[in-house]
């Protein structure tokens, strides 16, 4: 009986919130909630069939159909980062054993590769900023100390090459890396004066060519691929007046990118964090609705054909947006919210999606009481 009342209260609250949502037309994002602590989750597949998660004891585990498998066992405090791609063929696992005892932005983490949804790890090397390319046939990672981007074939570890950066000015500079075909890599680097440049590396020649150079060091560049186009954002740094521009460049690039088509501009410095691999001609990023030195940040979607910008959140303080197997997640005040995705909540045992206003707590309480009963 008591449980029935609680369910009624929750139902009324849901109705109330839904009504309010319509009245204010405010976008309320569902919070990512799971039976286990969200902080332990490292990867959730879109169809909910498997989860990679970690324990504070230092293990990385794989769970599927109520079966759990320990993939790596390490010392307590070890932190894992699990990275997928839109190709859904491989998964990268990064392991940092001194996560809480050696705070290093440039730490050389252990990098492993595993088949998508698999459990057998292959150790690749040590580095940072690992990512998958070209239908997951290649992966790359960066070493801050040697300033080298290493590429390795995911099928054949003997097939590898590296690109050395020129950057001598910022020890914390992380290059943007995109592999547009089996022969061509685009990456960013810093010039002698600290201005960011975009370079094109050809495996056949082993040479890099500068295709773009920013006019000032107060701009950073992000690149990604969408529908066989190279997307490049240029965003002002540190309250500079550079603003934001996003352009698309048809591939292949013959000489430089002077003929790029600008698809978005803003006089304000946005946050950026481009996500380009969810659908054709659509990219997602964090837009700044405040000032260049006073951020009000929300997630938007940019249509590369119509140049239309669509607001996807109204939280004002979003700091991160990421693509987890096709689901766009945003983080705000330490909590994850689902911005976009086709997660089928009914079929996902470990995942629940509810509006944020106190619902998580209510559900948890009911779960606890249910367990007690």
């Amino acid at each position: 009986m008591a449980l029935g009342n609680k369910a009624l209260i929750i139902f009324l609250m849901v109705v109330g919130i839904s009504f309010n949502q319509k009245a204010n037309s405010k976008i309320i994002l569902p919070e990512l909630l799971a039976k286990q602590a969200v902080a332990n989750i490292r990867f959730l597949s879109q169809d909910g069939k498997f989860t990679y998660y970690q324990k504070s004891s230092g293990s990385l585990l794989y769970s599927s159909n109520y079966k759990v498998f320990e993939m790596i066992k390490a010392s307590s405090g070890t932190q894992y980062t699990v990275i997928g791609s839109s190709s859904r063929k491989k998964i990268i696992v990064m392991q940092n054993e001194n996560f809480h005892t050696f705070y290093s932005l440039r730490s050389r983490e252990k990098i492993y590769l595993v088949d998508f949804g698999g459990t057998t790890l292959r150790e690749i090397g040590k580095g940072a900023n690992a990512q998958l390319h070209q239908d997951d046939t290649w992966m790359s990672y960066y070493d801050y100390y040697s300033k080298t981007i290493t590429f390795e074939s995911t099928a054949n570890s003997a097939s590898r090459f590296s690109i050395k950066l020129n950057n001598r000015i910022n020890p914390y500079f992380t290059p943007q890396v995109v592999m547009s075909d089996q022969n061509t890599i685009f990456y960013s680097d810093l010039g002698e004066n600290g201005s960011v440049g975009l370079l094109q590396y050809q495996r056949t020649t082993g040479k890099s060519e500068l295709v773009f150079k920013a006019k000032t060091p107060m701009v950073r560049a992000e690149i990604c691929l969408n529908n066989n186009q190279l997307i490049m954002s240029l965003i002002g740094l540190n309250s500079s007046k550079e603003g934001t521009s996003i352009s698309k460049i048809s591939l292949p690039i013959t000489k430089d990118i002077s003929n790029r088509e600008i698809v978005y501009t803003s006089p304000i410095n946005d946050v950026g964090q481009l996500i380009c691999n969810t659908s054709n001609n659509i990219i997602t990023f964090i837009k700044n609705y405040g000032e260049s030195d006073q951020f009000i940040t929300d997630v938007v979607e940019l249509n590369l054909l119509t140049k239309e910008v669509k607001l996807l959140s109204e939280m004002r303080t979003i700091t991160s947006v990421m693509n987890m197997d096709g689901t766009i997640l945003a983080i705000d005040k330490g909590k994850y919210f689902i911005v976009k995705g086709n997660l089928d909540f009914k079929n996902i045992d470990s995942l629940k999606s509810l509006p944020p206003a106190g619902f998580g707590e209510a559900i948890k309480k009911i779960d606890e009481e249910l367990n007690d009963e």
Binding site: R42, T81, T101, N170, Y172, I235, V271, T317
Partner: protein, 630 residues
């Protein structure tokens, strides 16, 4: 006496000169443009020439009439010689004339302190006029000291007393009792300036200022420089240079930029000096003039700070512009009398610890690109070794002991420190001496691998510790020891200083940095939960700062992106001030990878997001934001 009329005469004379100049100026206009006519400056020069000529003739005449002793009380209608007064008006600085015209006593004290000058600025005589027995006006000269000795018995009696309290013997005590008020707003500033104009001490103070600035007597200059603190010296400079110009006086104090405040000694010089040194690529400390030039550049060229100021001390790049930087530095409390190099330190926690410890217990830190990483390591090593916690400093150099043919390991601190027996260079030298038969006075040099060339004479003998600055930092580095060109393969460097910044287990709680600093440096801390709390803590405790650890992806999301769920790169940071801009509170701080002299502004949502995200991943679910004070 007629000194009152004399002043009136002087005032009139000043008007006359002005009128005369105007007249000359207007007459010039009447001439045709093609004629070579004297301009107003030229006319003034001519006037001075005529005046100097007359004055010299007058002086010669007076000299002929000089008397061995003069008693002013015995003379009738004594006043200053009009041509002498004319000369004072002509040659004295306007800023002191304005003060001198306030009243007779101020005129006399200005003259006494040599602020008023005649044609001959070094004249030790005062020229006076009096009525002789034949009722005729006659002029003569009297020794300056005699004149004031006598005149102060007749009038302006207090001036005599002021002279005494400003003698070298007494002035230190006098100056300590004077309030050098720094204005907070314009109306307050104008009042302060006016008070200085009414203050009878002003000419005595300005005399000292003039001595410091202009005297060729180095000993005297040094005497005053030693006795008067820099803040007051700068205050006196500003006061005496703008005595006739309240706007000028106030402009220095009402400027909001940090650079002006530093140059006025309202803020410590280190907030600017290290940056300026790097900006101008100078190895040595900048002179006052160079610092002033740098200050004016920073105040006028916003973009100048964006890329300069940390060339030899690697850190995150680019920097804040000069305007933002100034706004942050004005509010920043952190003691930063050194330059560190986060880019040469692997563990960002170490950089933060170095900064916090040297805020509460500043030590003399040698700032040089070669030493900066060593100094940071030294701070943590001393913190751990100070409480005999060797686990907290596990860096060891291991070697094969000749005595028992077993491997032995000794604790070392990376870098070179002549005063530290555990420093890397001294430790290796000792091992070579004890095990390899090297001379007892062996010195080891730490050199970059790429610079080492055994074919060059400087590397042919002696001890060298090779590391690669490009590929490694002070700790993650494969080092080699070379002695007399031979590699000492048995000497190995092991260990990485991994430590808890905040406790990660209850077992090792005592040795986490946050507890060690309280034990060793007698600091106190408390958790900070919200923005009001940060502001309250920073406002309440003069030396209090806030430090914490948060995910960098939330602290500066515009530079560091999160690409996977629960990805986090923990970044220690310090918040040491707050300001209000557009009705929003901004926190002033440095994340550990920032240049120490380039604080940034952070918003509370970013700090909150960063700490919250890290808390979720922390083994003890610790909220890692604390206020710390001594």
């Amino acid at each position: 006496m007629k000194l009152k009329t004399l002043l009136l005469f002087w005032q009139n004379l000043f008007c006359k000169i002005f009128l005369l100049l105007c007249l000359i100026g207007s007459t010039n206009k009447a001439y045709s443009q093609t004629q070579t006519s004297p301009g107003i400056i030229e006319s003034f020069e001519r006037l001075l020439e005529v005046h100097n000529d007359r004055y010299t003739k007058n002086k010669v005449a007076i000299a002929a009439n000089s008397k061995p002793t003069i008693n002013l009380t015995e003379l009738k209608n004594v006043k200053l010689d009009p041509k002498y007064v004319q000369s004072l008006v002509m040659h004295s600085d306007e800023r002191f004339l304005k003060y001198a015209q306030k009243d007779e006593c101020k005129f006399l004290s200005s003259l006494e302190n040599s602020l008023l000058k005649s044609t001959d600025p070094r004249l030790d005589y005062v020229l006076i006029q009096y009525q002789n027995k034949q009722n005729q006006q006659e002029s003569t000269s009297i020794l300056k000291d005699d004149f004031f000795e006598q005149i102060y018995k007749l009038k302006c009696i207090n001036n005599k007393e002021f002279s005494v309290i400003f003698t070298e013997l007494n002035f230190k005590k006098t100056i300590e009792g004077i309030k050098f008020s720094i204005p907070k707003n314009k109306s307050e500033c104008l009042v302060i300036h006016n008070e200085w104009l009414d203050n009878p001490y002003t000419p005595y103070l300005c005399k000292i200022q003039q001595i410091i600035k202009r005297s060729p007597l180095k000993k005297q200059v040094e005497f005053y420089r030693e006795k008067i603190p820099l803040v007051q010296r700068i205050y006196l400079d500003n006061l005496c240079n703008s005595l006739s110009n309240p706007e000028l006086f106030c402009s220095s104090y009402l400027k909001e930029d940090v650079w002006s405040k530093i140059l006025n000694s309202e803020m410590p010089e280190y907030k600017m000096s290290y940056k300026c040194q790097q900006m101008y690529n100078k190895k040595e400390t900048l002179s006052n003039l160079q610092l002033r030039n740098c200050g004016s550049k920073l105040a006028t060229d916003k973009a100048f700070c964006e890329t300069r100021g940390s060339q030899d001390y690697p850190s995150n790049f680019p920097f804040q512009n000069c305007e933002n930087l100034s706004r942050s530095l004005v509010k920043s409390k952190l003691v930063t009398n050194y330059h560190d190099c986060p880019g040469n330190i692997d563990n960002e926690g170490l950089t933060n610890i170095h900064r916090i410890i040297n805020h509460f217990s500043p030590r003399n830190i040698i700032t040089s690109p070669a030493n900066c990483a060593g100094e940071t390591n030294y701070t943590l090593a001393k913190l751990n070794l100070g409480v005999n916690f060797e686990e907290g400093w596990p860096l060891k150099v291991c070697y094969l002991s000749r005595v028992d043919n077993k491997e032995k390991c000794e604790t070392y601190i990376p870098g070179s420190r002549p005063d530290e027996p555990l420093s890397e260079d001294r430790m290796i030298a000792r091992i070579l001496y004890q095990n390899k038969g090297a001379p007892s006075k062996t010195n080891c040099k730490i050199v970059d691998k790429k610079d080492y060339n055994p074919l060059r004479s400087e590397y042919k003998s002696g001890c060298f510790i090779l590391n690669s600055a490009e590929n490694c930092s002070a700790i993650f580095c494969e080092k080699k020891v070379i002695w007399d060109t031979k590699e000492q393969a048995d000497i190995k460097f092991i260990g990485v200083p991994i430590f808890d910044y905040f406790p990660t287990t209850y077992k090792n709680e005592r040795y986490a940095f946050t507890n060690l600093i309280n034990e060793v440096h007698k600091t106190q801390d408390r958790m900070i939960r919200n923005l009001t709390d940060i502001k309250y803590f920073l406002n309440t405790h003069p030396n209090g700062i806030v430090h914490g650890v948060g995910c960098i992806e939330d602290l500066i999301p515009e530079q560091f992106q999160r690409i996977a769920i629960n990805q986090c790169r923990p970044m220690p940071f310090i918040i040491d001030g707050h300001s209000l801009k557009n009705d929003e509170t901004w926190l002033v701080g440095r994340i550990a990878i920032d240049d120490i002299h380039t604080p940034r502004t952070l918003t509370w949502p970013n700090v909150f997001n960063a700490v919250s995200a890290y808390q979720e991943l922390h083994p003890l679910n610790t909220w890692t934001l604390y206020g710390i004070r001594k």
